[in-house]
């Protein structure tokens, strides 16, 4: 039975997997054509077709699964030696692969599977089945046409009379029947159209088929046509074989028009199926639907949407991001240099003007007041005695100097004007480069982005299930689903948000009765909202439930031994709300609920801190609660404040910086051994950066000197971080500190300054934790974090999640099962084959293993055998999940030690029941 929930979230995995299988099938078939005796190649091809068929059926792509089944069947016949490997059988497989590719391509552009394509393959298969029995009896010349590339292993074996599955494929067919008769009843059963023992002569179909699909590179097989014609009832004797031969001959000379189909159409037995197929084929030919099946047309036939995409490895995107990061560093450096040159230009311009003014003033003031004693060349007195002084220029040294100075100043002025124009253009060009760099950075950042809707969709089902389990009515509303977020951040926040969503349903929203009594709509509302705010993503998880009651939280804190009554009473409302972020803290009712929290709110806040995210609570008793999460847009590039101590600079990510202010030492108050500052009537713990990093005290300054202080916020916590100086705000490129320094949790990475110096990035989250900054292992895993909850004496220990290992070579099935089981409350690891599963089991203990049978590297049977041989694994229950429905396979699996056997596509409830059954049995066995 097909699973019922929305599979859109794993379509991308299916597409990726399907395309890989198609690529392998195409390449493998080409190799098989050259080496038809390669049995291992047939096995590989068979496995690929089998997996593709199974995962397509699981995803609900019936057409792909149906065509995949035909291909698998054909390969199965190759494997058993029942069918020869020859041109027509291989061509069929190529056609099947093309048909699947066409349908797979259609998925990304949301095109429905074309029934005509599926029907075409089914028909083609049917034709082949009919064609093969005659092959052995054909004349030599005929056999040369379709001579087997590899001899059939058992020529005497009765060829499956079209409908008879070979012995080896019974289980496939059983699985097939199970799949399509039970799961996809609404789909017309194309198999029912496969030839009956008394089939209409296929010669007409062959001709029509070949004509339609352009089999003009192969000579038309005349003999079967003659045989077919002979088989036609007496009244068809009128049909002359001759024209067909002629037509065939004409066809072989590529003159399609010479083929006369008309006489064949008159054959009564060919009616209605062949007729309707022919009409469809002709119609398809006109519309070009089936033309797309041919090999070598893939690229041009790919849907427009598909052509716009290429797959890029995330590692390559990371490398691109690093390169862009380098560009950003250099851009910042260039901007700084430009700022420097700008200030120089202003300085020069100012001084140049000053010089000009000075020279002019000097010249004007002294030109005619200096006496004639000024040394230097003078105008001859004899010739000028009839003139006043003002009527001639003077050429004494002073005047010459003055004029030269004026000239030089004017020249400098001109040069400066040109330089200024050049500099303006240069500044403009740099601004353009800066804009391009920013755009490039944005584009590459966007390439790593996924829509929040993908994440929100994951919560639909748990909300539905949980609300039903708790007898609540909850409507989940998603807004801003189109908001994009970095894939890495997406993966980190997925679990914390799941936890908050579950909390909202389980603890926030009241039962319909309670809501009615409170005058609310019996249906609760859960709103998930995402939006961009500057360089941040803001996520909101809001419910219209009972809200959080600070008084209740205080009481719970006292009951659980977190605080004394006096301490609890001394908490402000915000501080009381803040209690939910303490490790192991929960209200008594919360832990007993079926929502079964895997992680606590402390882990939520820790996970968010890891990515410099922050969380705030807004709540009102009786009205509801809103959690506001602020996250950076990306982890690779961040906005940061650059702080200084002595000559060393450090970066502090802006995400957690609420504001910057200044405090002097006189403002510091000492309360309960802690240094505090008063910010707008709120006392905040003060940390001095220099002391925190062991750099001693601040340099001596006046007591009233006000040092820059950063107000950092995480959830309801506030910390004031006093620094020596703030150098500025900058966009920084985050570089990893590498494996060896992961233990130094005071820093989250390093970055390069515009000048090329290395700066360390301060890990602000350590300030909110209790660990000293030099301690190791800053990052705690979810499981580690949950342990204190389990250890808390007063709190009922939350039940540990059951660990399931899912082993399947199909990524779609792995993802499908993993997500389905995650939603059902299991913790799931995956492995792609038996060997990988054994490795995974060597590292962690699993409560149950769900395994496929046919997988590369190590078969499912071998995996079960290995597990039974290994004493540490022998008692781990195994559930087989396969598309092999035959009793033979099931019996073997059960004999080898499997506890249950499920057939794909499975029913979710069936799997949950099987899991419960085998786990209970294992628990009982352990107790015994």
């Amino acid at each position: 039975m097909a699973a019922s929930y929305d599979k859109s979230e794993i379509i991308e995995f299916f597409l990726m997997e399907a395309n890989e299988h198609l690529q392998n099938l195409n390449a493998g078939l080409l190799s098989l054509e050259k080496n038809p005796a390669d049995k291992s190649l047939i096995d590989e091809l068979f496995r690929a077709a089998h997996t593709l068929k199974g995962s397509a059926a699981m995803m609900g792509y019936q057409g792909i699964s149906e065509v995949g089944h035909k291909a698998e069947d054909m390969l199965g016949q190759f494997r058993s030696g029942a069918f020869p490997i020859r041109k027509d059988t291989l061509n069929f497989l190529f056609d099947a692969v093309d048909a699947i590719k066409l349908m797979v391509d259609g998925i990304s552009s949301q095109q429905a599977e074309d029934p005509l394509v599926i029907e075409g393959i089914a028909q083609s298969y049917k034709d082949l089945l009919q064609n093969i029995p005659g092959a052995a009896e054909r004349p030599q010349s005929q056999q040369a046409v379709n001579a087997p590339l590899a001899p059939a292993q058992s020529k005497q074996a009765p060829l499956p009379a079209a409908r008879e599955p070979s012995a080896s494929s019974d289980d496939i067919d059983l699985a097939w029947d199970k799949t399509f008769s039970e799961g996809f009843g609404e789909k017309p059963d194309t198999r029912s159209k496969e030839p009956d023992p008394v089939e209409p002569p296929k010669d007409e179909l062959d001709l029509a088929w070949e004509k339609t699909f352009g089999a003009d590179d192969e000579p038309i097989v005349v003999e079967p046509l003659e045989e077919a014609a002979a088989a036609v009832p007496a009244k068809d004797d009128a049909i002359s074989v001759e024209p067909l031969e002629e037509a065939a001959a004409a066809h072989s000379s590529a003159e399609d028009d010479a083929i006369s189909v008309e006489p064949l159409e008159e054959a009564p037995d060919t009616a209605p199926d062949a007729e309707s197929l022919k009409i469809e084929i002709e119609a398809a030919k006109r519309t070009g639907v089936l033309e797309k099946r041919g090999l070598g047309r893939r690229a041009m036939d790919a849907p427009e949407v598909e052509k716009q995409f290429i797959r890029v490895n995330i590692e390559r995107l990371d490398n691109l991001m690093n390169l862009v990061g380098e560009m950003v560093v250099n851009r910042n450096r260039l901007e700084r240099q430009i700022e420097f040159v700008k200030s120089l230009r202003e300085e020069i311009t100012f001084n140049q003007k000053r010089l000009l003014t000075t020279v002019k003033t000097f010249e004007e003031k002294y030109e005619y007041t200096l006496n004639y004693q000024t040394p230097g060349q003078q105008a001859p007195a004899q010739q000028t005695h009839d003139f006043f002084d003002l009527e001639f220029d003077r050429y004494d040294d002073f005047n010459l100097l003055s004029r030269k100075l004026t000239e030089i100043t004017n020249d400098t002025n001109e040069i400066m004007t040109e330089l200024s124009a050049f500099f303006d253009a240069f500044e403009l060009d740099t601004a353009k480069i800066s804009t391009i760099t920013t755009n490039l950075q944005d584009e590459i950042t966007m390439a790593r982005m996924v829509e929040m809707d993908k994440l929100f969709q994951l919560y639909q089902r748990p909300v539905r299930d949980l609300s039903q389990a708790e007898g609540k009515e909850v409507e989940m509303v998603v807004t801003g689903g189109e908001t994009k977020i970095d894939k890495t951040i997406f993966e980190i926040i997925s679990d914390p948000i799941m936890h908050m969503v579950r909390n909202a349903v389980s603890h926030g929203i009241e039962t319909p009765d309670a809501r009615r009594k409170a005058g609310k709509d019996p249906k609760g509302l859960l709103i998930l909202n995402a939006r961009h705010e500057g360089n941040n993503i803001v996520l909101e998880i809001q419910d219209d439930g009972s809200g959080m009651d600070p008084a209740r939280l205080r009481t719970a804190a006292v009951e659980k031994g977190f605080l004394t009554r006096a301490e609890a009473d001394g908490l402000t409302e915000a501080e009381a709300l803040n209690l939910i972020f303490r490790a192991g803290f929960s209200t008594a009712a919360a832990v007993s609920k079926v929502s079964g929290r895997g992680v606590g709110m402390d882990v939520v806040s820790n996970q968010l801190l890891k990515i410099n995210g922050r969380i705030e609570i807004k709540t009102e008793p009786g009205v509801g609660t809103k959690f506001v999460i602020r996250l950076p847009l990306t982890l690779a590039i961040a906005q940061a404040l650059i702080v200084k101590f002595k000559d060393q600079e450090m970066a502090i990510p802006m995400t957690l910086v609420e504001e910057t202010t200044r405090f002097s030492f006189k403002d510091i108050q000492r309360i309960a051994g802690e240094e505090m500052v008063n910010l707008r009537d709120s006392l905040i713990r003060l940390v001095k950066l220099n002391e925190l990093l062991g750099l001693g005290k601040f340099p001596r300054k006046d007591e009233s000197y006000r040092y820059p202080t950063l107000i950092l916020g995480m959830a309801e916590k506030r910390i004031a971080l006093m620094v020596e100086d703030i150098a500025g705000r900058e966009e920084i490129v985050v570089k990893s500190l590498g494996e060896y320094l992961k233990g130094v949790n005071a820093f989250s990475g390093a970055t390069i300054s515009g000048e090329g110096n290395v700066r360390l990035i301060l890990n602000i989250s350590t300030l909110f934790g209790e660990e000293p900054v030099g301690a190791k292992a800053s990052v705690i895993s979810v499981r580690q974090a949950v342990q204190p909850v389990e250890a808390a004496p007063a709190a009922p220990a939350p039940k540990g999640k059951t660990q399931v290992l899912v082993v399947d070579d199909s990524i779609s099935i792995r993802k499908f099962v993993q997500r389905f089981l995650n939603r059902a409350g299991y913790e799931v690891e995956v492995a792609s084959d038996g060997m990988a599963a054994l490795e995974t089991m060597g590292k962690a203990k699993f409560d149950v293993v769900i395994t496929d049978l046919e997988m590369p590297v190590m078969h499912g049977y071998d995996l079960i055998a290995e597990m039974k041989r290994n004493t540490a694994l022998a008692k781990t229950p195994v559930i087989v999940l396969t598309s092999r429905a035959g009793d033979k396979h099931k019996q073997k699996a059960m004999e080898m030690g499997a506890q249950d056997y499920l057939v794909k596509p499975f029913d979710e409830q069936e799997m949950l029941t099987a899991l419960k059954r085998v786990l209970s049995a294992a628990a009982l066995a352990a107790r015994a």
Partner: protein, 135 residues
């Protein structure tokens, strides 16, 4: 103009590290290495250097790295005296006016006392070894 500093760039298991050239006395091959029971396991042994015994440290063991001891002996002068370091290769001398980011003492723990800070080299970050913290 900022003052430039020279560093020896060395490698250990493919990763690059730096050490100030000023603390390097000699770069040579380890000859006549003798085991000494009194030395702890991070020492590969001792060798005669300029008429005195020189303790030789297997840096990989010190940094808890896998792999065979290096084939190049770096003789360093530290505040505790001279010490030899076995490293895989010595790649180059880096002269740079860029500042290394020093690790503030308050964040140091036993696993990081071997390092002084981080330096930029060919677009990547390399750890700057602390010749005084190695012993």
């Amino acid at each position: 103009m900022a003052e430039s500093t020279r560093f020896v760039i060395l490698s250990l298991e493919g990763d690059k590290y730096a050490i100030p050239l000023s603390s390097v006395v000699e770069i040579t091959a380890p000859h006549g290495l003798e085991r000494d029971k009194n030395l702890t396991e991070i020492f590969e042994g001792k060798t005669e250097f300029r008429g005195k015994w020189l303790p030789v440290v297997n840096v990989k063991k010190l940094l808890r790295m896998q792999g065979l001891p290096g084939k190049v002996l770096l003789v360093l002068k530290g505040i505790k005296g001279m010490v030899g370091l076995l490293v895989d290769t010595v790649a180059e001398i880096l002269e740079t006016d860029k500042k290394a980011a020093p690790f503030p003492p308050g964040v140091m723990n036993p696993s990081t006392t071997c390092f002084r800070g981080i330096l930029r080299h060919e677009g990547a970050l390399v750890l700057l070894l602390n010749e005084d913290g190695l012993l």
